[in-house]
């Protein structure tokens, strides 16, 4: 799997209202400006298409930061 910097960039690219460089691994993604459940769906779709990992609501509840998301995806790709 790719590194965390590339992962952050991918998420950033999904939200075109975000200025480049706004997000870091430590960003709590729910605190992204104007965060809504639409953003959650976009992240699920991105991770599914890029990594073939399908996250559910409980998975998301376990994570706060983009680093958490990255770790979660990594653990799921390694296991499966």
């Amino acid at each position: 799997m790719e590194d965390i910097a590339a992962f952050v960039k991918k998420i950033e690219n999904e939200f075109d209202e975000l200025e480049k460089g706004t997000l870091t691994p430590q960003t709590n993604y729910r605190e992204i400006e104007n965060w809504s459940s639409m953003h959650a769906l976009i992240i699920i779709a991105l991770i599914d298409s890029e990594f073939d990992v399908l996250l559910n609501g409980d998975d998301l509840k376990e994570t706060q930061t983009i680093q958490d998301l990255f770790n979660l995806v990594q653990s799921k790709t390694n296991n499966g």
Binding site: N34, M38, A40, L41, I42, I44, L54
Partner: protein
């Protein structure tokens, strides 16, 4: 494994009626303008047709049916079956199909019953009516649709801007020259709470408490006779189940993906549908949409999308379509059906 084929069936015509009144989601001021823009971009729903209070699904279906029967010039006496697929029926009791049998002047020899299904309802309904017709009946009417807007809370940003209303009619007949159609139908009731109206049935009979609006979370307030939608659960389910269901059907029917002329998906939301389209590696021109103008129209979305996007492509032609419905239940299914010279009526707008 509910994979099966049905012979001797031909679809003769499709019609649909939507309410004339349009709701533009950019004007949905319960949420901020930024949120509205984000919602429209992600779900694809810019506007939807909304029924006036008091207009029912059966009213829309009745109008669509009358227009189609006129066009097809069917002898009403030959109609042996009417199935009404809806989750917004006229009454708790009796079936709306019985009322429609009378309103449409169908003979007393006609079978009429309701199927209580939503997003998967068109595919399920087609399988049921086709199976019945294949027992040597003559002609059948499949009336499908919902007034979902009646059940959503204006203060629920997760459901209110998503749904639109529509009623459709599909005319089907027994025909020994009809080509075989194929089905793959599935269910997972463990997810029954993903899309639910909690009160008003026998499990939680309607009471004063049912009508009390509660704040669920930011931007979401509703009562218990209004629709509750767990967007993430539905999204997760759709991404997980729809693609394998379709691939199994293609394999079962020995059909190559590129033999299918059009893939018509239930119009859940644009992000879900585009994700499924990309998973299946389908070109965009084979996957038409109606969601931008009509929203998520529940069980009506497949026939409505056909009429909205494909009338010219289907007129006087023989095309192979794959239909896929998925959602409330949880229930999902797909079908491969030949559309041979199917009459597609222009969409009707009703006051």
């Amino acid at each position: 494994m509910a994979k099966f084929s049905i012979e001797n069936i031909e679809i003769k015509g499709i019609s649909a009626a939507v309410p004339k009144r349009i709701y533009n989601n950019i004007e949905y001021d319960w949420i901020s303008l930024k949120e509205r823009e984000m919602f429209i971009k992600t779900t694809g729903v810019a506007q939807r047709h909304v029924a006036n209070f008091g207009t029912t699904t059966s009213d829309l279906c009745e109008r669509a049916t009358n227009e189609l029967l006129k066009k097809l010039n069917w002898n009403l006496e030959e109609i042996d079956v009417l199935i009404f697929v809806s989750q917004s029926r006229d009454y708790v009791i009796p079936s709306s199909a019985c009322i429609l049998q009378h309103k449409l002047n169908l003979p007393k020899s006609c079978i009429a019953f309701d199927l209580n299904m939503g997003c998967s309802g068109y595919v399920y309904g087609l399988s049921v009516i086709s199976s019945l017709l294949n027992s040597q009946l003559k002609k059948g009417l499949l009336l499908v649709g919902d007034i979902s807007t009646l059940h959503t809370s204006h203060k629920d940003k997760s459901a209110f801007p998503l749904f639109g209303d529509a009623g459709t009619c599909t005319a089907i007949e027994f025909n020994q020259n009809g080509e075989k159609s194929y089905y793959n139908l599935q269910t997972d009731g463990e997810g029954y709470e993903a899309i639910i109206i909690r009160d008003g049935g026998a499990r939680n009979y309607v009471s004063e408490v049912s009508l009390k609006s509660k704040k669920i979370s930011d931007g979401i307030e509703r009562n218990n006779i209004q629709l509750e939608l767990n967007g993430i659960a539905v999204f997760n389910f759709s991404l997980k189940e729809v693609t394998p269901n379709i691939n199994e059907l293609l394999e079962f029917s020995n059909t190559q993906k590129d033999e299918i002329d059009f893939f018509i998906f239930h119009q859940a939301n644009k992000l879900i549908n585009e994700s499924i389209r990309k998973k299946l590696k389908l070109p965009i021109e084979k996957v038409p949409y109606s969601i931008e103008k009509y929203g998520n129209t529940s069980s009506a979305s497949i026939p409505l999308t056909i009429l909205h996007a494909l009338p010219k492509q289907l007129e006087n032609k023989n095309k192979k379509l794959l239909l896929s419905g998925f959602g409330v239940g949880l229930s999902w299914g797909s079908a491969i059906i030949n559309f041979n010279n199917v009459v597609c009526l222009p969409l009707i707008e009703m006051d």
